[in-house]
Symmetry: C2
Amino acid sequence: MVAKSPEVAAASEVAPVPFVVFQPLGRRVPVSAAGGSLLDLARAAGVDMQGTCGGKGLCGKCRVRLDGPSPAPPTETERKILGAAVAEGYRLACQTSLPQGGSVWVPPQSRPGGQVILTAGTDAGLGFDPAVEAIDLTVPPPSLEDVIADGQRLVGELGQGRQLAEVELPLGVLRQMPTALKAQAGRATAVLWQGRRVLDVAAGHGQPCLGLAVDLGTTTVVAYLVDLATGRHLAVASAVNPQIAHGEDVISRIAHAGLGAAQLEALRARACQCVNQLARAACRQAGASPGRIMECTLVGNTAMHHIFLGLDPAGLATAPYAPAVSSCLDLPAREAGLELALAANLHVLPVKAGFVGADTVAVALAVQAGSLDEPTLILDLGTNGEMILAAAGVMLCCSTAAGPAFEGGHITWGMRGAPGAVEGVRIGPDLEPVLKVIGGGPPLGLCGSGIISAVAGLVQAGALESNGSFAPSLASSRLRPGPRGVEFVLAWAPETGTGQDLVISAQDVSEVQLAKAAVHAGLRIMLDRLNLTRVSRVLLAGAFGNYLEPLDACAIGLLPGVRADMVEGVGNAAGAGAVAALLNRLRRIQAQELASRLRYLELAACPEFPDRFVEGMSFPAPSHSAPEPARDISGS
Amino acid sequence: MVAKSPEVAAASEVAPVPFVVFQPLGRRVPVSAAGGSLLDLARAAGVDMQGTCGGKGLCGKCRVRLDGPSPAPPTETERKILGAAVAEGYRLACQTSLPQGGSVWVPPQSRPGGQVILTAGTDAGLGFDPAVEAIDLTVPPPSLEDVIADGQRLVGELGQGRQLAEVELPLGVLRQMPTALKAQAGRATAVLWQGRRVLDVAAGHGQPCLGLAVDLGTTTVVAYLVDLATGRHLAVASAVNPQIAHGEDVISRIAHAGLGAAQLEALRARACQCVNQLARAACRQAGASPGRIMECTLVGNTAMHHIFLGLDPAGLATAPYAPAVSSCLDLPAREAGLELALAANLHVLPVKAGFVGADTVAVALAVQAGSLDEPTLILDLGTNGEMILAAAGVMLCCSTAAGPAFEGGHITWGMRGAPGAVEGVRIGPDLEPVLKVIGGGPPLGLCGSGIISAVAGLVQAGALESNGSFAPSLASSRLRPGPRGVEFVLAWAPETGTGQDLVISAQDVSEVQLAKAAVHAGLRIMLDRLNLTRVSRVLLAGAFGNYLEPLDACAIGLLPGVRADMVEGVGNAAGAGAVAALLNRLRRIQAQELASRLRYLELAACPEFPDRFVEGMSFPAPSHSAPEPARDISGS
C-alpha cells in the first residue's frame, strides 16, 4: 500500500496541496501531513530539530527563519524569547504554522549537535571557517616623506597581527585598488583568500562577502548563496541544465563533446552561462550583487566536471575511463567563465573516477560517510546511480548505468518531475489506480518516482509476475495489448491532460527492471566484497531520493535486504557537501581524504556482474503487510 | 675636440659607414675604428674579451658567434680549436673580420670572469638557474586496474626525485594535457615553474623552452629571446613604442591615460601588442614559436609599468607620486594580454618610486650597484634621467625631469636617432662644422647626442659663453638672428636632406642647459647627501648612453667633476637586467633587495634644488687639451 495516502487520495482533485519546504535539507512535506505547527511538520518530514519543552514555547530551541511573509504576527512568547531576531523573520517552530505552505530555514543552532548528516549551513562538527575573510582596513595615505606603494600599504595593514610574508595581489585587484583606497580616505574592505591572496578591495567598511555553492547535475543545476561573513544562508536558485538540448544523459553529452572542440566549448559555455544566471537570480533574491561573490564551490559528476572546465571528456567514455584530473582544484573563477568578483576563487571538489564524480564525493562529505559504523548504503539515484557502501570506516563505491528510467526517460509516457507528472500511484485490489500529480492538475505523464510507484503498485496488486510479465489470468479492462507489449491504462483519455490514455507498457516495466537490476547488482557485489550480507541503513540522496517512496522501492526489490523503515532521504546531499566545503575549508581537506579513501569498484570488470544483474531483474512477491518484513538477501 | 675623428670626418660623404655590433652589450663600433680583426674592434668598442695569446689564434678564448653569414670560411686554426662549434657559427674573434659590418654574440666564456657588469647571457656570478625547467617524462597510460587521472600520473612522474607535495595545474594546461599525453604514448615535455606549477605539457621529448626579456621604454621597446634550457641568446627585436602617438614623454602618456578608462586601455593594448609583435619577430629570427615562450621578464619606468599592467598611473603625476604597487609581480602572462605559452608566467621587476622604475632597478641589477665600492654614478639618460649614486654599498637614487632635449625633443631640428640624424658634430676654430650622420646620407635633423655634440662643439670653439649666449664678438656667416633667438647654421640648405638650413638656436641651447642643469643638480645633491665631493666613475646606460660621446658630455659640464676617461657606456643595462632576472631566479631576489636598499631622493622636496639647478645652467670654459683635466666639483 502507498503510504502518502492523504495527498495521494486528493491527487485527482484540482486544488494543489500546499507544502512546507525545510531548508537547507530541501525536505518538503504537505501541510496536511501532521498537526498544525512547523515543529510537527518538521518531525513528520524527518527533519531533526532541537526542542526540550515539548512544544510549549519555553525552551526557545526550535527557532526557524521564515523565507517568506508570515501569515500571523509573532506571539508574545516568541517576542520575549527571540527578541530582535523576530525582525529578521525568526519564529519558534512550535508556535508557528504555515497553512498556505512556504519555505522555512532551519538554522544550525536549531539542529541536534550529534547529527551525522551535514547539510547546507549546518556544520556542527567543524563550525564556520571559510577560506575567505573580509577585513575592514583603514590604509593611511602616502606622503612625500613616506612614499609607499598602495599595494604595500594595504598589505602592511593586513599584516597587523598575522603572518603575511607573501601576499598575492592579482592584477584585477591591483587595478581596482587605488580607486577603492582613494574613495573613502583609505577606509576599505579587503577580502583575503586562505590568508595569502587578496581577492578584492572595495571602498568603505563592511562590504558584503558572499559565497556560492553549485551542484551541477546532468539534469538540474542548483546554486546556494551564502554570506561568508556570517555563514548565513541567503538564497537558493535552480534551473534545468541547458546542455540538455545536446543529450539527456552523460554518455550523449560526452558523445556530443567528442564531435569537436567547438561542440565541447558550446556545452561548456551553456553550463557556465547557467551558473552565471543562477548566481544573478540568487543575488536578486538576496538583494546582493554577484560581484561580491568571492568564492564558488562546485560539484558535479565527472562528465559535468570535465565539460564545465573545458576538459575533453572523451577519456571518460572508453576504458579505462580515466579522468583528466581527479584532485580538487582552485582556480580563478573568471578562467572558468564565471562572472563573480573579478578575482573570485573557484574550488572544484575532487572526483574519484570516470563515473564517480565530485557530486558523489560531496554526498560522502555531507553524510560523513567515513564515520559511519553500521553498514550503510548511500545511494544517489539518477540517470547514473552512484552508490557508496560504508561500514566501519571502509567505503566502497561504484556507479551503475541505471539508465534513464529513474528520471522518466525511455518510458512511453515518461517525463521529468514537472507539474502534470504523476509522482505516486496507488493500485487497489480491483486494479483501479489513484494518481498523485505534481501541481494537482490532470496527469500528463510519469516522472521517475511515478514509474516506480506504478510498477510497485502493479507488483503489490499481483498484476505483475516476478519475471515482469503481466499476469495472464487477470481480467481488467485496463489491461490490453499495445504497441510496446501488453499495457496497463493508468488514466483514460478524458481524465488526462493530453487527451490520450496514460499507460504503462510491458516495455516500460522492462526498463524499470533493467534499471533496478543494475542497482541491485551493484549493492550485492559491494556487500560481497565487504563480506556483508545486508545493510542496516540506506541514505537516499538527490532530488529523486526526496520523492521516491521507500515502500515503492522495496516493493520492486530495488535494494536487496532493505526494509522501508531503513531508508532515509537526505535531500540534495551533493549540494549540501558543496555548501559545507564553502563554509569550512577543513571540509575540503576532508573531501580530498574521502576521495582517496573511497575504494572504487568497476562493476564492468567484476566477473559476477552478469549473474547478479539477472538475479536483480525479478520482482519480489507482493507483501500485504506494512512495513514489509525483513528478508535475507539470499532470498531476494 | 671631437674624438671619433675617422668617421666624423667621413660623415658628409654618401657611403654609409659599416658597423659591428657586439651583443649582448649592444655596443656598436665602426669597422674602420681599429685594426681588422673582431678582437681589435671589440677592444676599440670597450668590450672586454678573454685572450691570452695576443691574437695569435692559439688560446681559443676569444670565441664569438656571428649572428649573420660569414664573409670568409673559417681558417684551419679556427676549425682545429673550435671543432663542431664552427657549424654553429662560432669563430675566433682574433682570426675573423667583418668588413661589411654585422652582429656578433660574445658568449659568457669569452668574457672576463671578474667583470662587474652583467649583461644578457653573461652571469658569471650566479650562473644559469632559470625559474622554469623543461622535463622529459614518460607517463604510463592508465589501466582498468590502475585508473589514475592524467593529472595525477603526470605529477607522479614529475615527483620522482623531488619534493612535489603540491603542484599547481592551471586550467589551460589541464585542457591540453590529455591530448599531449596521448599523442606519443605518454612521452611528453613538461615545463615546471619554480618547481610548483606546470606551465606546459607538450607531446614528445625535448620540446623547446624559451624565455623573453622585455625592456619597455617610453620610446623604444626591446625584446630578447633566450633558450631557457641552455641559457643561449637566440634573438633580439626592437620597435618604437606605439604609445608614442599619445605623447612623447611619460607625463603626456599619464595625462592621456587620465582621460578615461578607454584611453588607459588603448595605451595598454598598444604596448601589449608591441611586445607580442616583438615576441613573434624574435621567434621568427630564431625559427621558434611564441607558444614555447614559458616566461617573460619585464622592466620599464613606473609609468610604462603601470600602463602595461592596466594600472591607473594618475597617482604618479601628482604628489606624493606613489605607485599602485612596487614589489615584483608574478602573474599569468595571458592576464596581461601576452600571447605566449598559454600558462606562461610574467615576472615584472620591482619599481622603487613614481619616477624610479623597474628599468632603474634592472640597471642597478645589471651593474651590480650594491657591490660598487668607489663612488660611482649610474646614469640612465632619456626623457627622464634616472640616476643612482653608489658608494660602499650605499645607493641613493633620484629622477631628474631632464626633459626631452636629450632625445631630440623641443629642439628646432630635433629628431630621434634614425637614419639622417646628426649624431656627432665637430666645430673647428674657424667655426666650420663637420657632421656625422646616421646612415651617412645628408642630414635631416639632430638626435640627442648630436645636439649635445653641437653645443659641446660651440662651447669648445668659444662660440657660446658660460651663460649660454652666443658670444657677441664672433663674426661668422653661420651666426644670424632667427625666430628662436640667435641661431648657428650647422649645414646649408643644399647640403641637407630637407632643402632647408639646419640650425641650432639660442632656444635649443637653452633647452640643453635646462636638461643638463637638472642632471647636474641631481648629482650634486646626491653627492652632498653622501658627504662626497666627486665620483670616481660614471656608468652611462641606455641607448643614448651608447651614442653620447663622453668628451661632449664633459664639454657642456653635464656631470660636475667628471673627466671623459671616467665615463663608461654599459649599453642597454635595463635590458641586461631583465635578461639576468630571466636566466637566474636569484637575480629576482637581488632585484627586490636592490629596490629595498635604493634610497630614493625626491629632488622636488630638496630645499637646495633651485640653487643647484641654477648653478648647473652654466657651461664650463673651453678646454683645449684632451682628456679634459680633472676639476674639483666646487669649481664646476
